[in-house]
Amino acid sequence: MWVWFSKLGSPKWFYELSGKWLPWLITAMVIFMTIGLVWGLLFLPPDYQQGFTSRILIVHVAVAGTSLAFFPLMFVAGTITLVWRMKLADMVAKNAAILGAWFSFITLATGSLWGSVMWGTWWEWTDSRLVSMLFQLFLLLGVISLRSALEDSDTAAKACALLSIVGCINVVIIKYSVEWWNTLHQVSSPVNMDASSPNGPEFWIATLIMIVAVYLFLSVSLILSTRNEILERERKSQWVQDLVLKS
């Protein structure tokens, strides 16, 4: 276990291993994304109350669910950076912050699109999830701007790790405190596999496929950007120079 753990910390080992994983992950992502998007956005029967607008939710729910994974991910990566001084964890954390900000933004954008039809407004302060997602975006932007402000990469790694841990705890507190407001947001409907119910199983299956697709997309983009980061930070090492000469 510990050998595996310390091996994972080596950028070179990760670069080689992730190179083997990537084709499989990308294939799986393309398959799930195509099925989810084509079926979910073009062929899914309209919801009995929401009409065709419910199709936006297929994307929105998947992206929103995934964007909640970023702070826990950065919390774990930050702990690894601070405790074991693992460079790789920081490379992941750096890109996770940027990806997380994009995912939060897309969640807000798709949510507003859906809200503009269903609620009749693009933005609604009384909805707790909207507001806490906005502040998650702000916190992630704070982590990104702290990293860009600190020049020394070792200091930046540790400082951002600490801020991510504090931020992760804070996101939870923000989420629950914002819920004290009256909420307008859809309570997520319970999973209903009964074909005779108005929310038939198709909707759930499409959403599940989309969630898997978005998680795969997240892994692929995180791995790709981390590989990029590895090449950039290890550019002086022998194996990277060999790799560049070979290609």
């Binding site: 702000f138 702290l146 400082a159 407001w181």
Partner: protein
């Protein structure tokens, strides 16, 4: 020569005393955020409306947001001069637990920057036409909320102490984190205005205060170690 061992409580008190002394010698660092607070609050009636009905509605929020902004401005002086003259390194090298030394610095900073703001708040609440039955709740909520702000801000200041221009990045980091305090602080005042008991919100703030007193100095200490090395 054998050195006399100092106890941690003596070190705690010495740090507290030293910081208070420095604060009273450099009055600008205390007075400017305080003036900023009063000026910002007085701008709202001019910008929004001088009618007392509308002012009553926004009074709690205006005071709370101005407190957040002022405390953020004053945070900058918490570690800066110590960092510049090297005494921060001495603090880190001290054999006593960093937790208590950081806590002492935070307490003295709150005494000179947070407490004056809390004390002057009823006056500003009167100017914003807040009904007098809410003064008590406002002061209590500020009394619980401003130390939390100082403790959270201390982490962000410790992380950015080595940077040249850090005013704005400090705001970007700390302001989103102060959302829960803002919510509970204003809700407490609002519930008093609706003649409900604000005790629930105030006790939640007390919980947040005790959690941040016990955890934030740890994070600030770790952040100082990161920044100074």
């Amino acid at each position: 020569m054998t050195e006399k061992q100092t106890t941690t409580s003596a070190a705690f008190l010495a740090t507290l005393k030293r910081d208070l002394l420095i604060a009273f010698k450099k009055k600008n660092d205390i007075v400017n955020p305080f003036m900023f607070f009063i000026i910002v609050v007085s701008l709202f009636p001019i910008g929004i409306s001088p009618e007392s009905d509308r002012l009553t509605e926004i009074a709690a929020g205006v005071i709370w947001i101005s407190v957040l902004l002022a405390s953020m401005l004053s945070m900058d002086s918490l570690y800066r001069s110590d960092f510049e003259d090297g005494s921060l390194e001495q603090l880190l090298l001290s054999p006593h637990p960093l937790f208590f030394l950081v806590l002492a610095k935070n307490i003295s900073h709150w005494l000179v920057s947070g407490l004056p703001v809390v004390l002057v708040s009823p006056l500003l609440a009167y100017m914003l036409a807040l009904p007098s039955e809410a003064y008590g709740t406002l002061v209590l909520s500020l009394l619980l909320g401003t130390p939390i702000m100082s403790l959270i801000g201390s982490i962000a200041v410790a992380l950015t102490v080595g940077l040249g221009s850090r005013g704005l990045i400090l705001a970007v980091i700390t302001l989103p984190m102060s959302v829960p305090i803002l919510i509970f602080g204003t809700l407490a005042v609002q519930s008093t205005l609706n003649s409900q008991s604000p005790l629930g919100y105030l006790s939640l703030m007390l919980v947040m205060l005790s959690v941040s007193v016990s955890l934030a100095p740890l994070a600030s200490g770790a952040a100082l170690k990161i920044s100074v090395n």
